[in-house]
């Protein structure tokens, strides 16, 4: 060793550096191992979760979402900062290990860094430490000065975490300074007369420190070198052992959280992993009632949350003041976990999570019912934390305990006895298509009786029974008729798809509805299913099994526009500006973003603008299905916010492709006082309205004979 003694050889007090650091290593590592072992306890007591399949696919996702930080840039400043910090940490990880080992064995060189790679790596790490240091400064500034709203903690959720965040950020900054000072002192000692010169990366933190220390005496440098090393060592282990007590635990858990993240997000978690549906009768308790009813992966989610607030920043329920903030679903569960599974002392588990009596009641019933399952939180989370499954599992638990709001009990009861939430008679299900005038224009028959329909139009409850939405049903039927689809409906045999029944936690009722529909669909002998309701679409596609392939009407229209079967008349009103609102269950849950837009753009003269929140950042209209019956506590309607967004974008016509969006948006237009300034139309209605009925190749006379509507057959092309 040149110039100054290596840290391992110094004898600062009673023992040599080597012994001291060995003790710190052993203490630090055993402490960390013990804490992690204690943190594993609730995971081991939790419910099962099958996350061990598709290792290559999972590794690919680790590369994308962990190493690639895929979701970070959705927030430009915070995301960029994080990418720098993350990259810095990755680069510095190797250095940190070799530095730690150097304390015990001064001549240690990390394998692979012995030759030319060594100095290059050193230069990179010098910069990495510098970048991380400055990122910490910016991060502290943001917390202290700029205070982004999403970091705030509303009083009802507890105390602000600013102090803790700054403490942790400062510790990382100290770690970086210590690391740099350690290198700088060594380099400064080496650069003094008579010593071989080690180059530090120009303008990096170590380089600056080295310049500052240029005239420092060797003994002082020696002490600085040792001191910096000791500080580095202590900070490193303190951070390691402190992180599992708060949000920075994600540094350790994120890799695993992303590896084990759900692959098929669109499919809802089963009631109990490893129990087949036909054996569910034997499961005594459904859903999550106590903390241990969560699956181990869901608890890992709680540990992994970085409290970045992006979920709640995008949560429509949170935006309108409903008592739900996804961030605190996680934060409260993590606090519960740390409190009930302490690092020191006995675990005390088993208290109910929902209620307002005991200390273990971390959630309120309203909080859990407030979620529309729109998926905005999950689309945003950089750590792929799952929310919908947890909400649904908590609801399953409440349904199992009979804890269901009165406003939801009536529609659920009606779904049980009549197969629709409105309690309407089954025989009236096809009334929307049975008016004389409509039957003349576009006959709609029930499948299976006399016709051999290839395609089933699955109408679902709201479009069948709601006076306003029946217009969407008729428009859809006319479009199907126009493109020559040989289709029919189930009529009285159709039950509610049960999409929200399942998402509101009533699994057994959902299974009954699904069973009935699957039997009816199979008996009809159809080859494919079309629906204009994204909720029905999602249910048929992901919740149902063994049914023919299903398409949303927007996909069919988009295809037929491309084949030329659908041609449009130009938009007459030149003042109309259209904005497309992505329904959650068409967009975020099924990635159908382009088909509806392609259709709109194919209509001549249609002026279209995009709202700022669109595609996977679309803002939920207020929720569909049973959510229409729920009476949330809120300051404002989601729909009102949404129509205001459309107005801001400069639109005066909102196009959507979901009957529930239509309910919410039309109501919201009235509530927002935008009547006369804003209208809403369903994509199917707009297409039906603009469709050029005279098809090319059809003579005028033939066209006149076939009147409004071309009767379905395969040879009229």
């Amino acid at each position: 060793m040149v110039g100054i003694e290596s840290a391992s050889q110094v004898t600062p007090w009673l023992v040599t550096g080597r012994t001291l650091f060995l003790i710190i290593h052993v203490l630090g590592i055993s402490c960390f191992a013990y804490i992690v072992a204690r943190r594993m306890v609730p995971l081991l007591r939790a419910e099962r979760d099958f996350r061990f399949d598709h290792p290559w696919l999972r590794l690919g996702r680790v590369l994308k979402f962990w190493l690639g930080q895929w979701k970070q840039p959705r927030y430009k400043l915070a995301g960029t900062l994080h990418i720098f910090i993350f990259a810095g940490f990755i680069v510095l990880a190797v250095r940190a290990f070799s530095v730690l080992i150097v304390g015990v064995s001064e001549n240690f060189v990390m394998p692979g860094l012995a030759g030319r790679a060594g100095p290059i790596y050193d230069i990179i790490t010098d910069y990495a430490a510098t970048i991380v240091f400055f990122c910490m400064v910016i991060a502290v500034m943001r917390r202290l000065v700029f205070k982004p709203a999403r970091y705030a903690v509303p009083a009802r959720y507890g105390k602000a975490q600013t102090a803790d965040a700054i403490f942790l950020l400062s510790l990382i900054a100290i770690l970086m300074v210590a690391d740099s000072l350690f290198a700088a002192a060594k380099a400064a000692a080496q650069s003094q007369p008579g010593q071989s010169i080690e180059t530090l990366a120009a303008f990096s933190l170590p380089w600056i420190l080295q310049k500052a220390l240029a005239s420092t005496s060797l003994p002082t440098l020696g002490r600085l070198y040792f001191g910096a090393y000791l500080v580095h060592e202590l900070t490193f282990y303190f951070l390691l052992c402190y992180r599992p007590f708060g949000i920075q635990f994600h540094v350790e858990t994120s890799l695993f959280n992303i590896y084990f993240a759900k692959l098929d997000r669109e499919i809802l978690k089963p009631v109990r992993w490893g129990v087949a549906e036909e054996h569910l009768d034997q499961v005594k308790s459904f859903g999550v009632k106590t903390f241990e009813d969560f699956t181990w992966k869901h608890i890992l989610d709680f540990y992994s949350c970085a409290d970045c607030g992006r979920c709640s920043d995008n949560c429509p329920a949170n935006a309108v003041g409903r008592p739900l903030s996804p961030r605190f679903i996680t934060v409260k569960a993590r606090d519960y976990s740390f409190q009930h599974y302490p690092v020191v002392g006995r675990a005390n588990n088993g208290t109910p999570l929902i209620g307002n009596k005991g200390s273990g009641n971390i959630y309120s019933a309203d909080e859990i019912w407030s979620c529309t399952t729109c998926g905005a939180c999950e689309a945003e989370c950089p750590l792929l934390v799952e929310y919908i499954d947890k909400i649904v599992d908590l609801r399953r638990g409440m349904v199992d305990d009979g804890n269901v709001p009165q406003s939801l009990q009536k529609p659920l009861k009606a779904l049980e006895s009549r197969g629709n939430p409105y309690g309407k008679m089954e025989k009236k299900k096809a009334d929307w298509a049975n008016t004389k005038e409509f039957q003349q224009v576009c006959p709609v028959e029930t499948v299976g009786k006399s016709n051999n329909a290839d395609t089933l139009y699955f109408v679902d409850s709201i479009t069948s029974y709601d006076d306003r939405m029946q217009s969407i049903g008729r428009a859809t039927a006319k479009i199907l008729n126009h493109v020559g689809e040989n289709f029919g409906i189930l009529g009285a045999a159709e039950r509610d798809s049960g999409h929200e029944v399942r998402r509101f936690g009533e699994e057994t009722l959902f299974m009954a509805l699904r069973g009935h529909n699957v039997d009816a669909i199979k008996a009809s002998g159809v080859q494919r299913i079309v629906t204009a309701d994204p909720h029905a679409y999602n249910a048929l596609k992901h919740d149902y099994k063994d049914v023919p392939p299903v398409e949303h009407i927007s996909q069919l229209i988009s295809r037929e526009v491309k084949t030329g079967k659908i041609k449009f008349n130009p938009i007459e009103n030149e003042n109309s500006v259209y904005a497309y609102h992505d329904p959650c269950y068409l967009g975020r849950h099924n990635q159908i973003y382009d088909d509806p837009r392609d259709v709109l753009d194919a209509i001549p003269g249609l002026k279209r603008v995009e709202m700022t929140r669109s595609r996977d950042r679309s803002f939920c209209c207020g929720g569909g299905g049973l959510m229409l019956f729920y009476e949330p506590k809120e300051d404002q309607r989601m729909g009102v916010k949404r129509v205001q967004m459309a107005a801001e974008a400069g639109a005066n016509v909102m196009v959507t492709a979901c009957p529930f969006c239509m309910v919410n948006i039309e109501d919201a237009i009235k509530v927002a006082g935008l009547e006369g300034k804003m209208t809403a139309i369903d994509l199917a209605e707009l297409v039906d309205q603009q469709i050029a009925r005279e098809r090319p190749g059809l003579k005028e006379k033939d066209a006149a004979e076939s009147k409004e509507c071309v009767v379905a057959s395969s040879n009229t092309q």
């Binding site: 199992d400 305990d401 009979g402 804890n403 939801l408 009549r418 309690g423 008679m425 009533e506 057994t508």
Partner: protein, 263 residues
Amino acid sequence: MEILVCARRVPDTSENEIQLNSAGNDIERDELVYSINEADNYAVEEALQIVARVGGTVTVATVGGEDDEEILRREMAMGANHGVLITDEAFIGSDGRGIATILKGFVQRGKYDLILTGIQAEDGGAQVGGMLAALLDYPFASLVNSIEVMDGKKLKVSREIEGGNKEINEIDLPCVLSIQTGINEPRYVGMKGIRQVASLPIPTCGAADLGVDASAVGETGAKVKRVDYFVPALGKGAEILHGGREENVDKVLELVTAKGGLK
């Protein structure tokens, strides 16, 4: 506390389109769906909450036929300990007093501290609770919207007085109470719960078991007989105001004040 709740199965008004049958003496019952009478469901919930506080069992009984079993199962899924179907050919066509007589027989066969009924059946006349109490010579409180168990021998019950005031009464046990809807928030009965009790046997008992004189009940014993059933003709339609906004507001205020809605 041993609690008996007398319940009834009725056509669910929110899930049916009630129409007269062609004979004009009853409603068309072919496509009706039925459920437990709403007030009775509140009574069962109240019974369950009392038992949760002070212990005991809840029995739900109904006078009817095989079809009526479904509401007993529903209430058992809700948490009731026992369900009993009181059924006999001789009971068919009973009037209110007949039903009260049958229930009296059932009550005397068991040992109940508290008997609850709904305030009235959705298609009934709010007769049975009071008559049952009188036949049993039990104290009776009606329109009950809260119950507090005192020392095991007494209850404190409240009822709402027209105009929104509340009255609290003490009542000795055993007694009969008719329960007002809104006394609590009945728990949800899921399909899973109903399935779990689907195969439980429901005991039945008839006139002989209860020692009820068959001629005193049923159609023969009925002194009240329905002679007509009709949908009243619609009255005059709503009054549409055609003036300007200010004018209409004044007119509305005048109308509402005239009807006593504003003071």
